[in-house]
Symmetry: C2
Subunit: 358 residues, 2 copies
DNA sequence: CATTAGCACTCACTTATCATGACTGCCAGC
DNA sequence: GCTGGCAGTCATGATAAGTGAGTGCTAATG
């Protein structure tokens, strides 16, 4: 059955109203607030048809209508009104997203923070390490008598958390030379290529072999599936949503937020700019709490990543999508690296990085 | 009034029972489970006295007794029975706490994870940067045309998250020399001393001045109050506790866990080995949710840090303290750095570090 | 045929009332 | 000092009745 324009408008009214109030919407309410031109009886007829079509339900016979997953789906895809961000919100976004943050992980965390703040929902950000990332530089820094920090710079980010033991009597000079040698071999190659190091093994000078092996292992590990940095911001906000006022549901949700392995696969929008997944309407794993996940992929600032919100199915999709869209543009517009190093700039830069650690 | 031995035993019974069941304890229950040798009436008399003394209350007249904050305090300080960890639990601890984790932040995160897993409570770990930390080494690593990673090694940890812009045309060679020069000036000095750099400024060679300034800023920032790494593990576990089944209380608790500035001051045990803070009995800030915080300070592995649990006042203090104690010993017994670098070792080491990032 | 007014009907939700029983507190006797 | 016994209290849970928001249907109207 083709859905008439009026039915669409009525469905839109139901979804909007339900998103705002989280209460079943009655025909009288739609009549008063959205459709004074037709009577509530007419609206009742239309509602009955929309229910037959699968877009709406009732919790019980004497209750108003609430959208089904299919109803939300149609709303998101077709009916959703444009949202306009306030001046204050734009300012907040600009404050968080700026060119002072230099590494991808921090940028993503910042992005999640600002999304959470503005939408008042829990936000997630994820940087998936990719096998196609290209190694640009490998540095090995001796940090104590018997340990070194391995810094691996790729075209998307900087891996700087691998610390490994050293054999005795390795000099700084030696590590420095090893870094140069290994960089010369790996530079320009992808994680994927390096993970299969046979072709490189013959290029390596004998004395650097052990260091080489360590680097290969670090890089292999970096490119593994599901490895990456996940940030979750504002998880307490889940509990303000009435659909999670039941403690069991709230807990399921929080556990999902803590379980990286479960959460990460749900963030992939199959390469789309935006992805709105609604439990029930879209293929989502069984056993997960009822929720919707809206994600966007961002690129700019020398990398790309995914960020979005996770919340009740009844969420303000219009606002969320507008926020994600705007942030996407902000990030894309960041300069690709300014060559400035005045005092102020460094100071703020450092503070920024530092805040992100918290 | 001096508390008699029998009163102590009865108080102990009340607190233990309440910790296990989270239900007011009746005189009959104590009689059956703990004191078959005296009648419930006698126990009632004792309970009445204990209530007068301030260790117990009633929710209402026909309900059993529950401990007051003072009752918990006495229990923790004097009456608590020793807990014994199971073989499995000891194994879990050994699995998490091992010499493969090289940096303090990761070790603390691991510690929090294992504490949370074993106690089934939310755990926190905190590494407070201290003004008395001594700088050992400063390395500046060029990671792109116009940015560098500043690695600062102290006697307690490695700071490796500061990235700053560089002026044009700074060569690697130059940064390398600057690192050596700056290290030679700062090595052996504390954060506090360096934060007031006047005495060092005259030692610095003109050409390194800008780099020097950047390092000083990073170090100053590192030593700032409240700066440090906080890990919170298992926050969803809060919601399993019946005292937070009220969504408002649960939310207050989660918000506390997200608010570093509020949480950190509560973790300081004033230099004690163990600290048990009970909201109500101890000075805790107003407006915070009802909770108890048990922390221990750990030292070993080349640093010291604080970790513990945060949960309802009704928690199994015996178990928590035993776990913290045992973990403390494990950490203290870690070798201070082994000079091995066989394949296996590195591999596990790297995996470990990587896992921690998640 | 679409629209509408009107009305019967349903059913979640609220409030009132009552019964239950798990406790304590106290007293009198041992 | 200890104990059995008993009256008194009060949270908790069950039952019943009343309320009203909202629908579905029908018949009338344009």
């Amino acid at each position: 059955m083709v859905i008439s324009h009026r039915k669409e408008r009525i469905l839109q009214a139901v979804v909007s109203s339900y998103i705002d109030n989280c209460e079943p919407v009655s025909s009288a309410h739609i009549h008063q607030k959205y459709f004074p031109e037709v009577s509530s009886a007419t609206i009742r007829n239309e509602l009955a048809t929309l229910e037959e079509m699968g877009y709406l339900t009732h919790p019980h016979v004497s209750a108003g209508r609430i959208p089904t997953a299919a109803g939300y789906r149609l709303y998101v895809d077709k009916l959703m009104p444009k949202h306009k961000l306030s001046r204050q919100e734009l300012k907040t976004i600009k404050h968080y997203i700026n060119d002072k943050v230099r590494d991808l992980e921090n940028m993503v965390r910042n992005t999640a923070k600002v999304i959470s703040e503005i939408t008042n929902l829990t936000a997630v950000g994820y940087v998936q390490n990719q096998k196609t990332d290209m190694v640009k530089n490998v540095k090995i820094v001796k940090i104590s008598e018997n340990a070194a920090l391995f810094v691996i710079v790729t075209d998307r980010t900087v891996l700087k958390d691998a610390i490994a033991n050293l054999p005795d009597n390795v000099s700084e000079q030696f590590l420095q030379e090893a870094s140069v040698h290994i960089t010369s071999i790996f530079a320009g190659h992808t994680i994927d290529e390096i993970s299969n190091p046979v072709r490189f093994a013959k290029l390596i000078r004998k004395e650097y072999e052990r260091i080489f092996d360590a680097v290969v292992r670090i890089i292999k590990n970096y490119g593994g599936d599901g490895v990456g940095t996940l940030s979750v911001e504002g998880s307490a906000k889940i509990l303000s949503q009435p659909e999670y006022s039941n403690i069991g549901k709230a807990r399921a949700m929080l556990e999902l937020l803590e379980a990286k392995e479960q959460l990460v696969p749900m963030l992939n929008g199959a390469g789309l700019n935006f992805s709105v997944k609604i439990a029930g309407a879209d293929e989502m794993k069984e056993g997960l709490p009822e929720c919707a996940i809206v994600t966007a992929s961002f690129s700019g600032g020398g990398g790309n990543a995914t960020a979005g919100v996770i919340g009740p199915i009844r969420m303000d999709y219009g606002k969320v999508l507008t926020v994600l869209d705007y942030i996407g543009r902000e990030i894309a517009s960041l300069p690709q690296g300014k060559d400035i190093m005045n005092e102020e700039n460094i100071e703020e830069n450092i503070k920024e990085v530092d805040n992100e650690e918290e």
